[in-house]
Amino acid sequence: METNTSAVATEAAPASPVEREVVIETRNLSKIYRDFWGRKKVQALKSLDIEVQKGEIFGLLGPNGSGKSTTIKLILGLLFPTSGRVLVFDKDATETRKNERIGYLPEESYLYKFLTAEETLDFYGRLFDMSGEDRRRRVEELIKLVGLEHARHRQLREYSKGMTRRVGLAQALINDPDLIMLDEPTTGLDPIGTREMKDLILNLRDQGKTVLLCSHQLADVQDVCDRVAILHQGELKELGRVSDLLKVQDVTEVHARGLSEQAKSEIAEVIRRHGGEVESIDNPTATMEDLFLNIVRESEARPGARRLSTAGDDPAASAASAAPSAEPSASDQPASPKRDGDAAE
C-alpha cells in the first residue's frame, strides 16, 4: 500500500491541472481464482487501483504470473472481480455494450483455425454495427496494415505464430476501437513486426485512442508507454510516467560526434574539475535490433543472398558505422514526439 500511495504521489506531480477523461478505472480490484468447490487457488490480484486516461498508452509490467493478463481480463469482463469494481467508459466491465468501442488482442491468438484471414476478419466485422461496404473496406485496410496480403486466403491453421498474431491484431482493430487492449503485443513478432507494432501503437495514440498493453519486453514498453504500472504477485509496486520513472537525476548524458581522443580527455578533465565523476567515455555500440533492421532493409533493396562478412571484416564496425545513421530515423524518432508531448503537458 505504501508503494501505492507513493506511486500516486509521483504521478500527481507532473499531472496537468486540465481535467482528462478517464477511460478505465479500477477500484480496489481483487481477484482470487477458485476451484470448482470454491476453494481458493491463487490470489492473482490484490486491491488494484489504476486509472487510464483517454489518449495515453498505459503499460502493465511485471514478471510471469504477476496478474497482468488477469487485470486485462477483468477489465474486459471475461472474469468477474472477487471484490472491487472495474469501470470502462463509465460502464461496468461486464456490460457487453462497452465492447462496441473496445479492441482486444489476447495473450495468444484464440482464433478459428479453419477460417482464412479474410473470413476471420469478415466474421468479426459482422459482430459490429457496420455496413457491409464499411466492413469490406475495413478488412481490406487491415489486411494491408498487418501485411498479410499474400496469405489472405490461407487457413489460419497453416499460419506461423507471428502471422496468427498479426491476424489477431487486425481482429482487435476491426471496429476502429477507442480503447485497445494488447496482451503482450510483441511476442511472436519478428523485429520488423515489433517495430511496426510499436509504430502502430504510437500511431493509434496520435489518433486520440487509448492503449493498454502488458508486456515484459521492457525495451518495448519503454519505447512506447506514457505511463506504466508495475505488478508483482498481484500487487501494484510502481505507477507513473515512464520518463519520470527512468530519469536518473544525478547522471548527465552527452552525445557528440567526431571528437578526437584529445577532446575526450579534455572533457573528462572539465568534469573532474567541476567535482563530477566520470563513469565512462566510450563509443556507443549499436543494438541487435538496429543491426537486424539494417540487414532486412538492405535485403529488401537488393534481394539475393547477402555477402557474409569475411574474417577480416569486423561486423561490429559495419554495424556501428550504420548505427549513427539508423538510430535517429528508426529508434529515436518515434520516441521523440512522445517526449515532445510530455514537454507540452
Partner: protein, 634 residues
Amino acid sequence: MTLQPEDFWSYGEWLLRPNAFLRSALLQGVVLTVLAILVGLVLGYLLAAARKGPSEGFYAVARVIREMFVFDLPGTSVRRVYALSRLAFKEAIRRRVLVVAGVFVVILLFAGWYLNPKSDDPAQLYISFVLTATNYLILLLALFISCFSIPADIQNKTLYTIVTKPVRPTEIVLGRIFGFAAVGTCLLVPMGLASYLFVKGGLNHDHAGIQEIEQQADGTYVGKTTYDRHHQHTFTLTADEAGNLEGVTDIAQGHQHSITKAADSETYVIGPPTGALTARVPSYGSLYFLSRTGQRSEQGIDTGQEKGDGGYGSAGLERLIGRTSQANRIEFGYVEGGNLSAGIYTFDDVTPGRYQDGLPLQMNLRAYRAHKGKIDRGLRGTVTLRNPDTGAASNALTFIVDEYEVDELMIPETLAGNDGQRNRDLNLFEDLVNENGQLQLEIRCLDRGQYLGMTQGDVFLKPRENPFAWNFAKAYISIWLQMIMVISFGVMFSTFLNGAVAMLLTLVCVLLGFSAETIYDVRHHIDINKPMGGGPLESMIRIAKQDAMTTELDVDTLTSKIVKGVDTVIVYSMDVVATSLPNLPKMVETAEYAANGFDIFGSLLARHATTTLAYLLLTFFVSYFCLKTREIAA
C-alpha cells in the same frame, strides 16, 4: 398401429383440454415455465449469495434480470446471430459431420440384404426402416454437434475474442442452435430424398408375365401372374368391344398392378405396382358400445389384460390436487358374438361430395377366441349401416376378420335394408345418413362366444388419399423437430458443463423421454401398492436373489420399508423429470403413421411444433442465464 384417444385431439383440444384443463398442454407448459423461473431464481440467488453475500447476491440477480430485458433481448441482432450461425455451421462441417450422410448411404446399400422380402407389407418395412435409421442417426448427430461446441470454444479460448465484441449471450445461444439446425437440415434433406428413392426403388418390381389365364362363362378372364419377389397376384380382366383386355390385379403384399392386352397382340402388359405407398386420410368416428344386454356403455367387454397392459399416463398436475393416475390408454373394447353387444361408430360429414363411388370402409379389428371354434377360418363379423335419427338400417354385411391386416370394404351407394316400415333398397346418402351428415355403423361378432376387439381408431372411412411423398416429408419434418429439441438441450447443457458431461445429460434426457411410459407404470404400481417388481433398488435386489416379480419382497420388514421408501423417492423424482421433458416417443410415432400408410394429420405436426418451440424457448433462456453469469476466462 393403435391410435390412442389423445391422437384424435384437435390442436385446440390438445392445447386447452376443454373438460380437463389440468391436463392441458398449455397449463403444463405454463407450470413448467413458472417452475423453471422459480428454480432459476432460487438457484441463481443461492449461488450469487454464496459468492457475494446475501444482499449483494440479491442485487446481482436483479441486475442480470434487468440487463436481459433492457439490453440483451432488445439488443439481439439478426446480423450477429447470422454471423455466429454461419460460424457454427462451418465448424460443424469441418468436424466432418457429413460423414453421417455417408454412413446413411452405406446403411441403405446394405439394408437391401436384410429387409425381409417375404414380408406381407414390404412398404411398411421399408418406410419404417428408413425413417427409424434417419431418426436415430440425426438425433445422434444433433447430440454430438450441439454438446461439444461451446465447451470447445471455451477451452480453446476462441470465445474470448467473441464475448469481447458486442455479442450478447442470446446471440451466442441462438447462433449455435440455428447453425446446428442448418447443418442438420442440410443432412436431412438429401437423406430424405435418398430414402424416398430407396423406398420407391426397393418396392418397384415387375412380374414376368401371366402364369395362367382362363375365360369364364361371363366373358371375363381370370388368372394369376407369375410368382416374383415372393408373391403373385390373381386378377380378373374384362374385354371391351374391340377385344382389348383390361383390369387390375388383386392386392398382394399391399399393392396392385394394372394388366392390359391389346386385341392384336399376344403379350400382357403388367404395369408398375400401385397402392403400396399411400397416405390414407382417415375420417374417424366416435365409438360407444352396447353391452351383452344392449345397454349403452362407453367401454366394451374387457377380456383380461388389456387395461393393465395399456399403461398409465403421467398424472401430471392432477397429482397436486390429490388425484392419482388412471389408465391412460383406452385399449381394445370387445364385443361378444351371439348376444346384443355391439360397437357403434358414428361418423360425421358423410356426404356424396366426399365419397363419390361408395363408402370405403377400413377396419383393423382384433380377434379374441374364447374357444377354439373353427380354427381354419377367421372370426366373422357384420357391419350394419344405420341412420341415427330415422332408424332406417341396411341389412347386415358379413365379413371375415383378417387379423393384423386392414380389412377393406367398399360399401355401395344402394343397399338392401329396412327404412323402419318396410324392406326396400336404401340409398346410402338419402336414407342412411341423417340431415347432419351422420351415419352409424354397428359392428357385431357373428361367432357365438368369440370376441371382436376395437378402438376408436380401428374403424374409419377413407374419403381420400394424400400424396405419399408429402406424407413422407411430414415424417421428416417430425424428425427435424426432434433434432431441434435435442440440439437445444445439448446447447443448454453445454453452456455450463463440459462437452462429455453435457452429452451424457442430453442423452439421459432423451432416454428418460423414451422411457417415460415405463416410469409412469412403475409409479402407478407403487401408488396402488401392487407388487410388480418395484422401483430400481427393489428390482436390483430381486435380480440378485432371483425372485419373481410379483411375489412379496423376501427381506425383513425394516429393510423392505427402507428399500420401498428409497424407491418411492427415486421413482417419483424420475416421474417429475420425465413429465417435464419432451415426449419424444410421441414424435417418433409419426414414422409409424407414414409406414402404415396413414396421413400424418396437420394437428399432430402442429402439436409437435408447438412443443418443440416451447422447449426451445425454455432451453434458450436457461442457456442465456448460464452464459451470462459464467466467468468465461475462469
